[in-house]
Amino acid sequence: MLLAIVNLAFLIGAVLFARGLSLLSSPETARKGNIYAGAIGMGLAILGALFFPMDVPNNYLWIVAGLIVGGGIGYYVSYKVKMTAMPQMVAIFNGLGGACAVLLAMVEFNNYYLAEIPDGGTGALVSSALALIIGGVAFTGSFVAYAKLEEFIKDNFLVIPKYHHILNITLLLVLLGFTAWLVYLGPEGEMWMALVFMGIALYYGVSFVVPIGGADMPVVIALLNTFSGLSAASAGLIYNNKIMVVGGLLVGASGVILTVLMCKAMNRSLLNVLIGGFGGSAAGGKKGAQGEMVIKEVALNEAAIQLNYSKSVVFVPGYGLAVAQAQKVCKEIEDILEANDVEVRYAIHPVAGRMPGHMNVLLAEANVAYPKLLDLDEANAYLANADIAVIVGANDVVNPAALDDPSSLIYGMPILRVWDAKHVIVLKRSMRPGYAGIENPLFFHPKTHMLFGDAKDSLTKLVTELKAL
């Protein structure tokens, strides 16, 4: 009887995961979807795991303690985190899921080698090895991504230039070979081998993410999400547990879809992103022409007047907006302008920021109505008739070199054609190139005026100027 109830709970949980994720892909139903999948589905799965009838010691005290500690930390962190730190947060959560899969795999190895007659046989070894490799990449890879986002480490930290991808391919082959070796040895294998295996898998995660540049973070975060899902699925294979496999695969699939979307938004193949090489190498490219070009600056009050007397303004946010935490001031300007009958829109490039949808989250936090956020195609159509485009901390996504300079690294990437607007105002801290290390001809464009300074600072001053008008 209990078995039937538990199995039913697992089944309903798996259905809720699928239904919840599908509801999560539409704005009206998203919140309900999250509750279906994340609360009810997960709750049923945990209850099922607790009461699945087995003749075992149970150790409920340990489990309940773990649930309370983990739940408490998770709840606390999720309410403390700033919206600007969301990419870091997602990276850490991915890493924890991966770490959990690594732990499960190691205990399984340990039990396998300690047992007189190991049960599970080859299947247990293969699924443990799989969970270890994928979980290991998700674990250490996510922590490297976190360190990069927090700027604890630089983009080229620990990278062997040019040959790094060969190292990575070698590591992957070693891991696959190791798996085959452990399977071949079977019960003859020993625990130290599993520990060495774990070491290599964890290092592979580091080596895998380290060469990928900051601008490619949206792809990395989506990819690591895929891995954390797949590691859960392979851990599910160890325990013959179907809800783990289904849940993990659903996450894996959604991660793959996002990864592909992000790659498309940059017009690059996944392989190209993984091999890295974005940044660093390009810096020298176009220095020659630059000297003759002129940068025009605009004064604050002049910019305020321009904005105030225009009909339509498009803000183009980028990672700089997140760094400066300028989203709320942006909204303030929107309110002032709208009160003066200026139409305000936001042009959101799919890879603006450090994770998929980063800008949407920030602007939502600042209470910007989401119909005002235009995606790439809508924005380009709108920009053609707009009066002013204000670039706040974006760089590569508005770089015209992507359209007309075949020698540029970002050539072919779909971008926001901000120069179609009548005027362009670029808020920028300095003339330093963006993270991709590529010169941006937009700054020298005849329509462009630069407003130097910290984005939040400049916008705050603009608010004062606008109010004074």
């Binding site: 773990g66 998770g74 599910g236 799919p350």
Partner: protein, 105 residues
């Protein structure tokens, strides 16, 4: 080759392959069209679902011998990590979606 055929002919394995294939297809189908605005919530929401790995950790602790402190403590750690992933992911997604919702009025 022989082992591969045997593996495939085993009804239990066959069922697992079915499950793997169909769960993957289902995953791709239900999330094929996502508006940009929901990229982050979808990611953090599905991230929470990958906390399902906690089920394995719970089973591990339940099966451990009461004096096997290695398995118990690693399993405990697994439960903690999985639970942070699941609850943290859920609440942070809910927090984000609440922000999205306010402005539809």
């Amino acid at each position: 080759m022989q082992t591969a055929i045997e593996f495939f002919n085993n009804p239990a394995n066959y069922l697992w392959i079915y499950l793997l294939v169909f769960a993957s297809i289902l995953g791709f189908e239900i999330i094929s069209k996502v508006p940009t605005i929901l990229h982050t919530p979808l990611m953090s929401g599905s991230n929470a679902v990958s906390g399902i790995v906690i089920v394995g950790a719970i089973l591990l602790v339940r099966m451990a011998q009461p004096d096997d402190y290695l398995s118990l403590s690693l399993g405990f750690l697994g439960v903690v990590l999985g639970m942070i992933n699941a609850t943290g992911g859920f609440f942070v997604t809910d927090r984000m979606l609440q922000m999205f919702k306010k402005k539809t009025k």
